[in-house]
Amino acid sequence: MNPDNSKTLPDQFLYQGLGFFGAITASVTHEFNNILGTIDQLSGLLEDLTVSSGQEKAISEDQINAITGRISLQTERGLTLVKQLNTFAHTSDHKATEFNVYNALENLQALMKRLVSTQKKDLILTGPGEEILVNTNAFFLLQALFLIISRILPLVVSDSAIEMTLCEQNDNAVITIKARLNGALIELPDDRYLGQLISGLQGNSKERFDNELYSLELRVPRSDASV
């Protein structure tokens, strides 16, 4: 999903927005397939043992409990993923809504897990103990972060982590993305659409690339600033 600055901005909103949804759902459905495939194999194993118990020794209660426990873990994993995908899908319900930024970032981290790990990289999230609220377009915020992370992901040093940090500074929620990139003179593509997304959040960003260390600071006004 490369930025295509030749498209008009309305086209870009449609194209990039659908691309964002597509990338997330493709990755998540891949994971669902693995979960269902694992449950399928575990139930097959249970069947194998049940069939053999008629011929040889009986299947023990411990064996049954161990396998059903493994099935339960996969079911829980699937249910968590459904909840995360559902939360993500509802981010497009409202033009603007008040939400806890950390929860949104945590969801994005979970949904991007496979996209990042297949490139042998990690995405780490750290944040403050207390909640930081913003009143903005949640879908745009997640999309902006997705674009930022996707843009640097192929360039991030293998077996290293992209660090996503949330903190509050004055009246802003500040999200920082940091990573060590391959090569010192990498030109990141200019992305007019990303700029528009950040403007739509009433926010601003500052990007730095110094001695292979990339960082981007995204500031979005807090809605609980005066509380």
Binding site: N33, N34, L45
Partner: protein, 125 residues
């Protein structure tokens, strides 16, 4: 050809370990690796009659791993598996050098048949 050794390579550990258990249960000696690097180590330590490789592996992808394996073990037959959620296996291109490309979820009987077929097809004469 009822007893053979297979190396299963997939980053989904619970899936691949359960598959190995089920194959062992059927008298097929199954070992597994959850990354390309681990697979290459296992191949150095033991000998196998066939490898089963997931196309989507972290780091070294499945087809890249197949190329690396075939440089060192040119006569080792390989089956590929894909976990893409939609479409038939034929929608995806079978990497060069692989005997077949299978779609997840895996039917164990069909997998065993396909592995036997690949090993027999690879046998000289």
């Amino acid at each position: 050809m009822d007893n053979f050794r297979v190396l299963l390579i997939d980053d989904e550990e619970e899936l691949v370990s359960t598959l190995a258990e089920r194959l062992d249960y059927r008298g097929i000696s199954a070992d597994y690796a959850i990354s390309g690097d681990m697979a290459l180590e296992k191949l150095q330590e033991s000998s196998y009659d066939i490898v089963l490789i997931d196309l989507k592996l972290p780091g070294l992808s499945g087809d890249e791993l197949l190329t690396v394996i075939h440089k060192s073990y040119p006569n080792l037959p390989a089956l590929m598996i894909t976990g893409h959620g939609s479409g038939e296996a034929g929608d995806f291109v079978k990497p060069e050098g692989a005997y077949s490309l299978l779609q997840k979820p895996i039917n164990i009987s069909a997998l065993i048949e396909k592995m036997k077929e690949a090993i027999e097809a690879n046998e000289p004469g």
